[in-house]
Assembly symmetry: C2
Homo-oligomer: 246 residues x 2
DNA sequence: CGATCTGTTGCATGATATGAAACTTGTTGC
DNA sequence: GCAACAAGTTTCATATCATGCAACAGATCG
């Protein structure tokens, strides 16, 4: 474990969507470093293009080199590129935002986000991790998850995000049975008020869930009446992607 | 300049699309480090999630943390998010791949890539830098570039990529005059045989080029007959984005 | 103008990253 | 089945190199 590299990585991770620009002092305080140390580490990171200075103020922000490197991340790369056209299709058909997500431990991680045409911007969820029980993608995965893993999810306490979040494991279990029956999962304002989503799992030939596709949008557009139709579309998309993978 | 951080960054940059997975020896040789040093640096990077080990072979590849961090890169973030729906629209209308690019020094850097529905995968160009004179986006920017900068481009030797690459500065200058007349730029197999593209610049109120939008596809789909129609569409998209920015 | 906050730069110190070599582990060849 | 080889990790002594302090330089503010 090399200390200076660890510290440099910590500096990178100190940035987030709330604070896209930070000064040396802010950063050193967050990470717990001397400002002189932080200053030199940041200068090195800047030299590498991993951070940059904002022209006006002299604060730091994450650099474009990260975007370039992220393009080479091969993890799930095949799945992503394979799925992309299908996802674009789904976004066009539904005029809503589409996500592709996979299971990572006991969380869902978003691999891809495709905005529908004509829509206002939506926050970027790519790379974000969420629990399984309160998002549509997570539920779609959970529904087909075999026993040792799924039991662990039900056993752990289920965090409450809104008043619609399901925190009762028995209720969740029953809902998952229904997901297996109809093929798609639904989450209505369970992680964020007003955010509705429908998702379907992409399973391998053994029936194990590999990934999930979702369509999501504001409650006033993704209404209860539309859910059946959207469900059919996400299931179709998931089936298409699964077909391409095998 | 902190040596170990510089070396760690060099290790990250040693990965590219040709070699997505590398062993400790490969990496140490590429960067010019002792394998023991490389081993420790990589272990640290792995701990930070910036690289991961491939489950089967124990080689390293870039980690998903990079994708997460890249999502927070705010550089041109506004432009990107603002442009995204328009780009998605353009992709849907043309059924071809759409790119958004900006000028970075004397090169073009791709910020965004949107795949059209129904299409086979295209290589990822996001983050890649290309010269100005042989890609449609670059020409669109070059055409509106004011004198001190554009003169430097024409003065420098123009690299030849295919037999259709324009390497004569006078010819290029004349073509740029035509771009200013019709509003869009065209590149036909000038950086890669069989890759055709049409692009238009997004200019600020002073007429300075800020970014460019392009539509590209294989030569058999992006035919000379379609170019006029595609030109009109990219110009419309560029105008829409420019309008949203001001 | 003094006061305060932010960020960079010398400098002495010793903590820490380094390279050589030893040691594992896995693979290939005979 | 064993030897030879390659890839990777670990140990250890060494001195390099990162560190923290303090002083300095700008900027902002009252």
């Amino acid at each position: 474990m090399i200390q200076s590299v660890q510290r440099a990585a910590a500096l990178l991770k100190a940035f987030d969507s709330d604070t896209p620009e930070l000064g040396v002092n802010d950063l050193s305080r967050r990470v717990g470093l001397h400002k002189s140390t932080a200053s030199r580490l940041l200068a090195t990171l800047e030299h590498a293009g991993l951070v940059e200075r904002v022209p006006g103020t002299e604060k730091y922000r994450l650099g474009f080199e990260l975007v370039r490197l992220a393009g080479y991340v091969r993890h799930y790369g095949d799945l992503r590129e394979l799925a992309r056209p299908v996802l674009a299709d789904l976004a066009a058909q539904t005029s809503e935002t589409v996500h592709l997500a996979v299971l990572d431990g006991d969380e869902v991680i978003n691999l891809e986000q495709i905005e529908a045409p004509h829509m206002l911007r939506e926050a970027n969820w790519v790379g974000r991790r969420t629990p399984l029980h309160c998002v549509a993608n997570g539920k779609a995965l959970l529904a087909w998850l075999p026993d040792p893993q799924s039991a662990a999810i039900y056993a752990a306490p289920l965090a409450q995000y809104t008043d619609r979040t399901i925190t009762d494991p028995h209720l969740l279990r029953r809902q998952m049975a229904q997901v297996r029956r109809c093929g798609y999962a639904v989450a209505l304002g369970e992680i964020e008020i007003g955010l509705h989503a429908v998702a379907a799992a992409i399973c391998d030939r053994d029936g194990l869930p590999l990934a999930a596709v979702s369509v999501s949008g504001p409650a006033y557009r993704v209404t209860p009446q539309r859910i059946d139709a959207l469900g059919a579309l996400v299931v179709a998309a998931a089936t298409t992607i699964a077909g391409r993978m095998l």
